[in-house]
Every structure is written in structure tokens, then in C-alpha cells.
Amino acid sequence: MTTARRGHPVPLALAGPAGLLLIVEALPRLGLVDARYLPPASRIATALAAEAATPAFWQAVADTLYAWATGLLIAVVAGVLAGLVIGSAPVLRALTASTVEFLRPIPSVALIPVAVLLYGTELGSTLLLVCYAAFWQVLVQVLYGVADVDPVAEETARSFRFSAWGRVRHVLWPTALPYVFTGIRLAASVALVLAVTAELVIGAPGLGREIATAQNSDAVPTMYALIVVTGALGVVINLLTRTGERRLLAWHQSVRGEVAV
């Protein structure tokens, strides 16, 4: 199922980035793009090394990861709780459906003025944007998950007089869990994007602010170096959530890859 088990995984996984590096190195060197605006990969790497030697850089990485993790945690807890409650009560579901559909597509960045007003350029601004964007990802997935409960299983649990908590624990939760993980995975990426965006636009501490400062300073290779770092963080976060998902859902058919009879 995953390439990791099919053999030759590492060379293939590295071929993509290596190809990209070659292209970025070649384009400016061949004069196809202006090296002042897109420096060759080697110069970006040099700038990255210089940045990595400064404590400010690691502080920025830590700030971004902290904002990301905190925002994601809040969004996941809130999204799962709200999803379970709304999803298991048809009345609530009907009541909130249009509201959710109305609020969900509002871009988080549109809330920047509100965030600034409430929290200035501090962590709170970033958290507001991150939570808003990530919450919907989780909520909607949990709602799907709850809706996916097998009516027969639900009826069976009822006839066995499972308590409300028992039905959540033994019927609802196992069905919804894979959806929850999908929600978390989607939310994790979105949260990173929004964390960096908030820092970039508002000036909250973190990698985004460092990128903005590099832009303002005309430090083009440094700017790309920092962008590469955010990309790399995205890859790491995605790998971690996927691994976590596989481990924790090892029992589930979507991961076992077997068709239940």
C-alpha cells in the first residue's frame, strides 16, 4: 500500500526534490530567469546555512511550530467535540448545516483585521487564524464520520441498551475515527499554512515574519531559504500525521487494506 513496502522507496522519494534542485540550479545559470530574483539552489543553500547558524532562526522555527501545534490542538479538540455533538443530533445538524456551509469558506486571512484588533502582533493573532481554518477541516470530517455509522450497528447497540456513552465509545467513535484522522491530517497542513501566513502578514513572531523581513531587506536568497524551510516543515508534518494515522488505525480496514466480509 505504501511505497515504503514496495521496495526502492528512498531513491524514488528523493528523485523528486533532487530534480527540483537541479532545475532551480539550472534555470538562473542558463539565464532563463534572472538570478537576482530566483537565485540558483546552491546560493539558496548557502543562505540557509547562514540562517541556520543564527539563534534567531531556530527561535522563529520554534515560534512557528508552537503556534501551529497549539492552534491545531485547539482546533482538533473543538472540532471533534462539536462534530460528535452536532453529528449525533439530527436537529442540531439541520440547524447548523447552513451556518457551517456559510462560515467554512470564509478565508481565515479575511479575519486578519479582527485578529490584529484583539491580539496585536502576538501569538493570539496567529492562533485565531490557525484555529479558524483548521477547525472546519476537522468538524466537517467528523460530521461525515458520524453520518457513516452503520444503522444496524447503531440499532443493535440500542437494543442491547448501551448507554449514550457506550454508543459513542463502541459504535460512533470507531466509525468516526478514520474520518477524524483525515480531518487532523488536512488540518495539520492548513494550520501550518495559516501560521506562516499570519506571521508574514501581521508580523507575529515566527518563520513568516523572518520571510517578510528578508523580503523587505532585499535578501532574496535568504527569503527563498526560509520558504524552503516552511516547505520542509510541511513535508515533515505530513509524514508524521500519516505515520500516526497508520499506527493508530492499524486495526481499521482502511489501513489493513482488507475488505470486510
Binding site: V116, A212, S217, D218
Partner: protein, 322 residues
Amino acid sequence: MRRRSLAGLTLALVAGTVGACSSDEDSGSSGGSSDGVDNVTVGVIPIVDVAPIYLGQAKGFFTARNIAVTMEAGQGGAAIVPGVVSNQFQFGFSNLTSLMIAQTKNVPVKAVAAGVASTGVRGRDFGALVVRADSPIRTAKDLAGKKISVNTLKNIGDTVTRESVRRAGGDPSRIEFVEMPFPAMPAALAGGQVDAAWAVEPQLTTIKAAGGREVASTFVDAAPNLTIAAYFTSQKLLADKPGLVKRFTEAIDESLAYADAHPDEVRQILTSYTKIDDGLRAKLVLPKWPTQINRASVQKIAELGTTDGIFTTAPDLDKLLP
């Protein structure tokens, strides 16, 4: 002049209302007066213009006056006016056009010290209109009907650009302004997306180093020794803590005077809050940092901006300036 958007100002209005509603809530972060030291946060933009405050901090001009100053530097100049009005920042740095827009909308702000000024030297200022080396544009007159990038529409960039074109005998009403962040301008100019760029340092030096030609020193054209930006605070802080504001103004004045007299130290302090590389840092044109706001020059910008429709009503400088 930087990154101030209309949205930011609208927000400032809202902030003003909110601030008025919650006036019983005491100023949170400026309250820390234990052992007589006031903690003060200043909203700035990480550019050359604010070097004096960093230098003043390093030199102890603020601590000598019992002020512990922290700079909040972000891309978003848009955060500064609302930040000051809502007391997230006790002071802020903003260009005077933005402050005048705020004033005409009754946002309760007050300038307390000069910020940055034009060098007043044609061809040797920290902001200018530039074109590509091979551009047919020779003087500001040729700019009529052309596409010019400014960092913010309806702000000081278009006011001074129009004035340069007008003075050169061109028709300023035919300019097509394009809004674009300063860092994007060198590439846009080289790529031909715009015919001219209204750039400031360090992008100005970058563009010139790539062969760009200056066609107008816009700040010099607009008014002699133009004051471009100022440090400001909220009317509320001014009323609640006049002593703190006075000490802050003194510290800023000392910082400005020191920066103006020590350009080498200014270039050095840039390494602490920007990422401008050494080559560029040595070359860029530093602005002037007089301690007085040149009122006549601000008046001129107010008049030009009123003519061009940037201000809905004429700004009241008595209310805004110290």
C-alpha cells in the same frame, strides 16, 4: 508610506470605537511601572527608517528615562495604527499621510516626535521614481499615461509622484498606479510589468545597481526637507500618562539626533533587525532624521492629498501634530 491599507484604517476606526467603549480597562502593557520603569511597546516596520529607535535602545537613551522599550516589527504596517489605538502598542511609527487619513476619520492619534525625513538632495534621496535602463522615459513629464507601482494606493506615493509629474509639465491625472509591495518592485520593473516604480531603500539601491535610472526625486519635488513619517501615540495615552509621552519624545529626539550624526552606527544597527546584506548596507542612501517635524512640508502634502482626493476633508494639523 509603508503598507498601510484602507482596511487597516477602517479597522483603526473600529478600534477607536472599541477603545472608547472599554476605557475603564486600564492600559495593560504600559502599566508595568514597578520601580518606576514604564514598559513600552512600539509598532515599527523593519526598514531603514526606524534605525534611530533601535540605535537609541542600544545606546540606553530610553532606559536613561526609565522606559523599557520593545519593538514589534512586522510586515504589516497596517497593524500599527489599530495597534496603537487599541493600546497593543503604546507608540507607533507611521507615515504622515496615513496619520492624516486617520485624523480626518477622527481616529484618536497624535504625533509625538519626528520619524524620518527626505535628504532634500535631488538624485540622492532614499525614495525616488525609477525606470529601467533601456526605458524611453527621460523625465517625469513622460510618465503621463504610464503604469507606475506604488506600495499603497491613495497614500504618499501617489501624492508625491503626481506632484513630480505636474512640476515637470505632465498630466498627473493620466498616471495608472499599480499597488505592489516594495520588495516586488525590482522584479516587476525588470520584467516590464510596470513602466516605473516609486521605490524606497533598500529596493531603490537594488534597482539602481541593476542599471535603473532615477527620473524624479519625488520627496524633493514635493516639498523642501519633507518630513515623511512620525512617531505617534493615542490621545488616550497622552491624556493618561503625559509624563511618559514626554520622556518617550525626549528619548526619540535624542535617538534621531544621534542617528543623524552617526551614519556608520546606523548601518551597523541595521544588521540587528533587518537581513540587508553587507554590500547593500554599505551602499544604500540613508534618510535624514531631524528632531523637528517640518510643518510646512506636511501642510503641503495635506494640500496635495486634498486636491487628489486622498483625504475626504482637509486634515487638521493642529489636532495631529505636537
